[in-house]
């Protein structure tokens, strides 16, 4: 790894929820570093713990859930156990997160312009003076942000409510809110899941542009390996609450080591080679209640063996790659 300090360093994070069916370990020993300016993709199916991991980073885990162990460091500062007050000065200003569903994440009763302005008024120390002055200044910045995310005629759209925008525009509004204070780290939770491909390309290219101009780091949470392949420097694949494989995008997708990553890649129809039959991974993601200590993928794995019933640790396999499998294969057929 490089000498630069990671901007975000998650190590051995455990997040649990007490439910009436039992204890759910939604995040089980996740470790992940994000370097300044880097785009890291986090892929996994629903229930793999992607969103909970980053809700933990943002300090959004509330009872019945709690962080049971591990550490989350942002620029060296420990976030686990930090007071709500300190969190408030961090969230939105240094780390921002866009939520999955833009329609439900925006407040329907407030104008979009106001929702961007709110962040600026709360965090931006440059906006000062009398109340009227601050609002005027913030308004100018809001228009600037809306132009950045390419909302046409921002001066008038500023006063529109979320329902007056299309899905793609709402998602871009969320990004505008997240980027208003020029954060150092943007966590984008499924920013394009609800969008059509042409709009998806617009939004992802916008995030990439802004990342390059502002020099921020981006964590892109998605279930689409294609998106990761095109937009991320590194990728972490999650399965049932654990990171099971991580490394540089090209090498992980080109030569996946973990049977799950291999299976995932075989499940996607390949447009360049349509005659190649897809091979689904049989079975389902395990319930996260009362898990056995062994490999989480054991029930669906073709190459399982006796030793897989013991706890499997993350192993370093060189070239910045790690994998949680006792017999990682180097190649996918």
């Amino acid at each position: 790894m490089t000498e630069a300090q990671p901007i975000l360093s998650i190590s051995n994070l455990q997040t649990r929820f007490a439910t009436r069916y039992g204890l759910v370990t939604a995040v089980d020993g996740v470790s992940l570093d994000v370097m300044p300016g880097e785009c890291v993709g986090v892929v996994g199916e629903s229930g793999s713990g992607k969103s909970v991991t980053f809700a933990s980073v943002m300090g959004l885990i509330k009872p019945p859930g709690w962080i049971d162990g591990g550490s989350i460091k942002f620029e060296g500062q420990e976030l686990v156990g930090m007071s709500e007050r300190s969190y408030r000065s961090l969230r939105g200003k240094y780390i921002a997160m866009t939520m999955q569903d833009a329609l439900t994440a925006l407040n329907p009763a407030l104008t979009c312009g106001f929702q961007i302005m709110e962040v600026l008024l709360a965090h931006d120390s440059q906006i000062s003076g009398s109340a009227r002055n601050r609002i005027r200044e913030a308004r100018a910045r809001v228009i600037e942000m809306m132009m950045l995310v390419r909302i046409p005629s921002p001066e008038t759209r500023l006063n529109d409510y979320p329902h007056q925008f299309s899905g793609g525009m709402r998602q871009r509004m969320m990004i505008a809110i997240a980027l208003a204070c020029r954060p150092k780290l943007l966590i984008a939770d499924e920013p394009t899941t609800a969008l059509d491909v042409t709009i998806q390309a617009q939004v992802l290219e916008l995030i990439t542009d802004i990342r390059q101009t502002l020099g921020m780091s981006v964590i892109l949470i998605t279930h689409d390996l294609g998106v990761v392949a095109e937009y991320c420097d590194r990728v972490a694949v999650m399965y049932a609450g654990q990171v099971i494989e991580s490394g540089p995008t090209k090498s992980v997708i080109g030569q996946p080591s973990h049977p799950y990553t291999q299976g995932l890649l075989r499940s996607i129809p390949n447009l360049a080679n349509l005659d190649k039959r897809i091979r689904p991974i049989e079975g389902q993601v395990p319930e996260l209640i009362d898990l056995t200590p062994g490999c989480r993928f054991i029930g669906r794995c073709d190459v399982r063996e006796e030793a897989c019933t013991q706890r499997v640790e993350m192993r370093n396999i060189g070239q910045g790659r790690t994998v949680r499998c006792i017999q990682p294969k180097g190649n996918v057929q």
């Binding site: 629903s46 390309a201 992802l204 294609g226 095109e230 447009l271 349509l274 389902q284």
Partner: protein, 340 residues
């Protein structure tokens, strides 16, 4: 009601099973009582605006387009789940749009639908046996004593266990629910199934299982599909032909290979190049579209795509392009693509 018997018809010769001619579905709220009370003039939503399609027996036509382009409305209008405004749907020689209620009910045995959202399309208060067996009972094709046997068979066909029959939908995962939806569609031993985004609500690994199942069933039972999706890789995998829809119109149709390798319509090109590829093959010269899909309430004049088309000319704003057939088997509606 035994399955697998009917598949002998799927021989080589091409046989048109479904012919859609100039089908129109407009939703008109202009003359409603609510409009009179509020003084709101209402609007005319031109969801499907003169679509013509042909599907051969035993083939899959993939219908692709962005949300709001009218794909689902078209699928439902074909089955008359939504009454078409005008146009005709000819299924195996019979004009479905002219059938009375009784004949339509009989026809429905032959045409079924699988819905998009497996969480919303199963009645949460009914057991799986009821859900799948209702169609059999309503159509009177099985005696009530036989229904259980039929349901058992159907569940096995879609990869579920017979003892799942007494459970309720909430006890199943998304992929299993979609299998139940498929079993329900298969119950009447149909020839034609509209698959309305059957996998878009599912995770990648589960999605692959369901695609595989649909593909296997098609082969075993000699089914014909209209497969609606917004995911090009899924459409490309399962379809023999593809139709690309934009704002209520079909802009391009043709064999899957031609559409994917050599699309002619600028919209198809943009749609294909916008798909992020796992192998990185899709990057480079991306045809970028700006803006959003215009509203079907007030669609652009001329070619509906001209507002977003990178190559639009004056002509495109004035005249609606006709469909013309090209040499490589594609049919394209674009002023810039000529037949020679």
């Amino acid at each position: 009601m035994n399955k697998a018997m009917k598949c002998t018809a799927g021989t080589a010769e091409q046989y048109v099973l479904l012919q859609v001619n100039n089908l129109v579905k407009h939703y008109d709220s202009r003359s409603g009582l609510w409009g009179k009370i509020t003084g709101n003039p209402g609007s005319l939503v031109q969801a499907v605006d003169g679509v013509s399609l042909t599907i051969n027996r035993g083939e899959t036509l993939g219908l692709i387009g962005e949300s709001g382009c009218g794909k689902s409305t078209l699928g439902r209008a074909i089955l008359r789940l939504h009454e078409p405004t005008s146009g005709s749907v000819t299924f195996d020689g019979t004009d479905v749009t002219k059938l009375d209620a009784d004949s339509l009910k009989k026809m429905r045995r032959r045409m079924q639908i699988i819905f998009q959202d497996p969480y919303a399309s199963l009645n949460p208060r009914k057991t799986i046996e009821d859900i799948i067996g209702t169609a059999l009972r309503l159509q009177g094709v099985a005696k009530s004593s036989d229904i259980r046997g039929c349901v058992t068979q159907l569940l096995e066909n879609v990869g579920l266990k017979p003892d799942h029959m007494t459970r309720f939908p909430h006890q199943f995962s998304g992929g299993q629910r979609q299998r139940i939806g498929i079993a329900r569609a298969l119950a009447l031993n149909p020839e034609f199934i509209v698959c309305d985004e059957p996998v878009s609500a599912l995770d990648v690994s589960i999605q692959a299982q369901v695609i595989q199942l649909l593909d296997d069933l098609k082969r075993e039972l000699g089914l014909t599909y209209l497969f609606i999706s917004h995911d090009i890789s899924v459409i490309g995998y399962i379809s023999d032909h593809i139709a690309v829809m934009y704002l209520g119109d079909i802009v391009e149709t043709g064999p899957t290979k031609q559409i994917l390798t050599d699309p002619q319509h600028p919209y198809t090109q943009a749609l294909l190049s916008a798909v992020p590829r796992v192998d990185g093959s899709g990057t480079g010269d991306r045809v970028k579209l700006t803006g959003d899909l215009p509203s079907p309430i007030n669609p652009p004049k001329g070619c509906k795509f001209h507002t977003r088309c990178p190559y639009a000319k004056d002509e495109c704003q004035l005249k609606k392009p006709e469909h013309h057939e090209l040499k490589n088997g594609l049919t394209v509606a674009c002023h810039l693509v000529t037949g020679n």
